[in-house]
């Protein structure tokens, strides 16, 4: 046995300080990100007196009553249902219309398809539509109306651009072959294109739905009737009333955060691919 192998056995493995530093940085940032969530979890399990005495002490009493209180007082079931309805209705209408906008543009089946695409791209740079949109809704009698609220969200130009780019990767020979077999335009888009562009569809649906779900400004502007509030607005109103009762408020926030975090683990890759679509090539 040579001297070097003995040395290897006896001496501890050389520490890679670069890796140690990297882990230190990653853990530091992780604490910054997990800290607020852990505080939320901890607070949601405490009683009010124990929170006032020491806000950061570990919850030993596991006061689950907070969740029951939050669920009932915050009118959670109603607001959640509203959020689900708005999100699914608007996303469904949007994606169905968007596919029929994106496909002919990607294929050049309509005249001036390039110009149409530009029309959707410039939307990203135009001024916000806030004020005239409000005037429009007001004059159509759709103010404080769930249907009017859903209408606000059936448009998303970035999604169209993502879909067009993806459809371009579907071979054009498919169109020809399907047409030769007597397949009509609608049926082709519906039963051939849709399944083929599923990854892009998923990305656009997820991005669009999250946007609606998290929207706070639109419900504040357009919905005055409490029965129409989505959960975001509901939480803010609840904060206004129970703002000083952090344990109950934290439980209310937790009730919304937990399912979203679980959903996030499944949806993460769709969000990431939406973000980075086209950005790498510039």
């Amino acid at each position: 046995m040579s001297a070097t192998t003995i040395a290897k056995r006896v001496l501890p493995r050389k520490i890679n300080w670069g890796h140690v530093g990297s882990y230190a940085v990653m853990i530091f940032f992780a604490l910054l990100y997990l800290g607020p969530i852990l505080m939320l979890v901890n607070t949601s399990l405490k009683t009010m007196p124990s929170f006032m005495k020491d806000a950061t002490s570990l919850a030993t009493e596991l006061h689950f009553q907070n969740f029951v209180d939050a669920w009932n007082k915050a009118n959670f079931p109603k607001y959640l249902l509203n959020s689900v309805l708005y999100t699914t209705a608007a996303t469904a209408i949007y994606i169905l219309t968007a596919v029929f906008v994106a496909f002919p543009i990607a294929r050049g089946y309509i005249k001036y398809s390039g110009a149409f695409l530009t029309l959707f791209v410039i939307a990203l740079f135009l001024p916000p539509a806030l004020i005239p949109q409000f005037q429009l809704m007001l004059n159509l009698g759709l103010y404080n109306n769930p249907i009017g609220y859903v209408l606000l969200f059936i448009v998303n130009p970035i999604g169209i651009v993502i879909l067009v780019n993806y459809i371009k990767t579907v071979p054009k020979e498919l169109d020809e072959a399907a047409a030769l077999d007597g397949c009509g335009y609608f049926r082709f888009v519906w039963s051939v294109v849709l399944p083929l562009i599923q990854p892009a569809l998923a990305t656009v649906v997820v991005m669009h739905a999250i946007g609606i779900w998290n929207e706070l400004i639109a419900p504040t502007i357009y919905l005055t009737n409490k029965n129409y509030y989505p959960i975001t607005r509901g939480l803010i109103v609840f904060q206004g009333v129970y703002g000083s009762n952090w344990p109950t408020l934290a439980a209310a926030v937790m009730l919304l955060t937990l399912p979203m975090l679980i959903l996030f683990l499944f949806l993460q890759r769709y969000i990431v691919s939406g973000l980075t679509a086209g950005s790498v090539k510039g």
Binding site: P36, A55, L119, L126, P128, A179, L249, S279, V280
Partner: protein
């Protein structure tokens, strides 16, 4: 591109099916967006049936040059620029730094990546409430940390500048993950042979970064800078959740909302001044346009220099 699905009238089917989506887009998004410019020259109020008059440049004049109110507006404008500069620079630098570290593919780095990206899905309401609790001045976690050093702070309820700085920090916290993800996507397109070659040529880590990573990361750098500049100029929702419409903290986006839809303070709701708000939002739009195009111009010059 020739159309295969029939001839004659049936060639119109794509147009027919495209129509709903296009119509919605014009009616709900593109049309109103353009009409903002028109409304900015009127005294529209936002009350149903109230008459609307043409007032020329009055709204702009009032916004920029009329007494105390316009001083507040200009302060808000300045604050918007500070917010934009601070958020863009810090978020860009942190995003790049974290992306480089996570991209080393050490064990568990995927978990860390997921953790940093998590706030993106939560939205401003949860982000804001979470941080309000974390910054709870009476013995919350951050207050406790300060107390170890004998310090005390009111955080979001303290001096306006202080509250403003906290919103900047939380804005960066919330969106750093997006910047990081775009950088990671860019980093993964750089072929590892280049690093191999750099190492054989005797380059150290810093030199490899300067001569391989940084130039080849140009597309992600451009995307991130533009997204951050435009995004932070228009961002204001965290202000709504964290501090409300408080003097000394307003940015332009919040000002547009508050003047257009009334600002409730206590039981008093100020009147809706939508023509004025439209003028303010056009000013914000011009700011976005000018800054966005300037950044774009310099980025393209830089790109040409690197590639050329």
């Amino acid at each position: 591109m020739s159309y295969h699905f029939g001839r004659g009238w049936s060639k119109l089917v794509p147009y027919l099916l495209l129509l709903p989506g296009l119509l919605f887009y014009f009616l709900i998004s593109l049309g109103p967006s353009m009409a903002t410019a028109v409304y900015s020259f009127t005294d529209a109020s936002g009350l149903k049936g109230a008459p609307i008059h043409w007032v020329g440049f009055d709204n702009y004049r009032e916004f920029l040059f009329m007494g105390r109110a316009s001083l507040d507006n200009l302060a808000a404008l300045q604050r918007t620029l500070i917010f934009c500069a601070a958020v863009t620079l810090i978020q860009f630098a942190l995003g790049l730094f974290v992306a480089l570290i996570v991209n080393q593919r050490l064990k568990g780095s995927n978990i860390f990546r997921t953790i940093y990206f998590m706030p993106v899905i939560l939205g401003v309401v949860i982000q804001g409430l979470m941080w309000s609790l974390f910054l709870f001045p009476l013995g919350g976690p951050m207050a406790k940390v300060l107390s170890w050093f004998g310090l005390h702070s009111e955080f979001l309820g303290g001096q306006p500048t202080q509250a403003f700085m906290w919103v900047i920090a939380i804005q960066i916290w919330a969106n750093m993950g997006t910047t990081m993800m775009i950088f990671i996507a860019g980093l993964q397109t750089i072929p590892s042979e280049l690093y191999e070659a750099a190492r054989i040529d005797g380059a150290n880590a810093l030199q490899a970064f300067r001569n391989v990573t940084w130039p080849l990361l140009t597309p992600s750098v451009n995307t991130n800078l533009l997204l951050n500049v435009i995004g932070s100029l228009q961002a204001w929702q965290l202000f709504l959740v964290l501090v409300g419409y408080r003097n000394g903290t307003q940015v332009l986006g919040y000002l547009v909302y508050a003047t257009g839809f009334g600002q409730t303070s206590g039981s008093v709701t100020s009147s809706f001044r939508q023509g004025y708000a439209a003028a303010a939002s056009i000013i914000l739009f011009l700011l976005v346009l000018v800054l966005g195009m300037t950044v774009q111009y310099f980025l393209q010059r830089r790109e040409a220099r690197i590639l050329g």
